[in-house]
Amino acid sequence: MLRKEQNDLLTQTGPGTPMGKMFRLSWQPALLASELPENECPPVRVKLMSERLLAWRDTQGNYALTDEFCAHRGVSLWFGRNEENGLRCPYHGWKYDHTGQCIEVPSEPTESGFCKKIKLKSYPLVERGGVLWTYMGPPEMQPPLPEWEFAVVPADRSFTSKRLQESNWLQAMEGGIDSSHVSFLHSGELNKDPLFKGSKGNQYNMGDMKPVFEVVESPGGLYIGARRNAEHGHYYWRVTQYVLPAFTMIPPRADHPVHGHFWVPIDDENCWAWSFDYKVTRPLSEHELTAMHEGKGIHNEYVPGTFRPRQNKDNDYLIDRAAQKRGDTFSGVYGIAMQDASLQESMGPVVDRTKENLVSTDNGIIMARHRLLRALKAMEKGEIPPGIAREHQQCRSAAVVLPPDQPFKEAAKEALVVQAGKEHATV
């Protein structure tokens, strides 16, 4: 459990909040590059950490992320005309460049220089790995561009999707490090999903339903090791990475692409679940890409024209009680992503953690909260939070078989960091 004030501290990310400050100190995925496919394309509304913004791309190809509303009368610039290196408000013709600087106020004499006094708040927006990233913190503290491995491999080796999750970011992220739910909630998928099935690791998973967990602090966050019995007295380890504040990476299975998530607050009651899959040494196959586009693995299908999942709370996630009874799926909801999202959204927009009863196997979640609270305290004293340094981003999840007496952090040391040109350690 958390006390109410602790829960509020971790779940509130709007401007001026400590947790919001932590998110704003690192580059966050804002939207897919494909949402702004060409110069002068229509702008896209973006809400991040309770700030309403507008993403757009000018005539020269400069990306812009600016205040959504015109400084004049508060009209949404989503209705704006994207033309000749600027976005023009359709109400009275005020025009802004990609930095948010007003460059024309037609009603005022040009010579007056009035427009120079008008500037919308704007944030940098840069493309990396098919994702447009933004940094919303103080300019003097802007870190180098993100170095997450999925975002820097060649484009044909990586696939990223995003979906709307109608819950606070923290309960979504905690699902990403809650390793003990996999044997229940996702038990129907391990041997069926095209992006999971066929690995030796699945046999270990299903052969030992009571994994033992080890949680070890890493420089950027946590390693969460799930240990199951393998042959000859060895252990099969699945090591999940959590990097503060909101990055999680799931251990690989066989030669399948490796996947993970970012959980980025939209506001305090919604977040973006970013899902990536990648391989280091080969392009993703047609078969894999088709499966990802079809919503398999950790991806999902959509309500057409939106990033809202096709299975959502308005249709009870298309729960199939007969399939639940037959055991086709443990919860009756199809697909790994929506199995998680349906349950996390059912907790309510912000779960009341004063009422929960955690158990020992929840130590991954307890430690993640502890690290976040500790980092917030340190941040108030001027320390840079974990997750921003390049070496914190150079991390990997791993699936390995190890002798029984070895700490996985030591024995799998190389497997837990990026090894240029080498695939993930996998079973």
Partner: protein, 168 residues
């Protein structure tokens, strides 16, 4: 018409979650396995807890002898000998605290008692970041067979955070 899930997962409906206790306090026995962790456990014992009680097994040497009785392997923080099996029998969870690099051999005796009584065990190793991998490995190898959940924490405050999170 809104679906059941849409209506019931709203912030408005969250207000109607029953405001009544949904659990009884758990009995958590926290046992220091060595002198450095005993210092941490003693500090914790001075705070207010629901049903957490604190012990030490640090005075009983490194190597338990084969066939030795469980009795006498545990003492409270005032130094009074406690019956290990009785204490474990009354526990919902046993937390063993060890310092990285120290021998945690008492874990085998405590773990065996927990196994006998089917009580959940958690091992906490403190100071893992400051010690060599070899030192950590030594402590880990003694705890691992007997802890169903293991945490290597760099900050001593984690013990309190974990116990509070578990409503100890």
């Amino acid at each position: 018409m809104q679906s059941e899930s849409a209506r019931m997962s709203s912030a408005a409906e969250a207000r109607y979650r029953i405001d009544a206790p949904n659990s009884q306090p758990r009995a958590v026995k926290v046992i220091a396995l060595d002198a450095p962790s005993e210092r941490v456990v003693k500090m914790l014992a001075e705070r207010k807890w629901s049903r957490a009680t604190f012990f030490t097994a640090s005075a009983f040497g490194d190597a338990p002898k084969a066939g030795e009785s469980f009795a006498g392997w545990l003492s409270d923080l005032a130094g009074r000998t406690k019956n290990l099996v009785e204490e474990v029998d009354a526990a919902d969870l046993v937390v063993m605290v060890a310092a990285a690099g120290e021998s945690a051999q008492a874990a085998s005796i405590i773990g065996e008692a927990c196994s006998l009584k089917r009580v959940m065990t958690t091992g906490l190793i403190l100071g893992g970041a400051d010690k060599s991998d070899e030192a950590l490995s030594k402590t880990l190898s003694h705890l691992r067979p007997w802890a169903l959940m293991l945490v290597v924490a760099s900050a001593e405050e984690y013990v309190e955070d974990m116990l509070r999170a578990l409503r100890a």
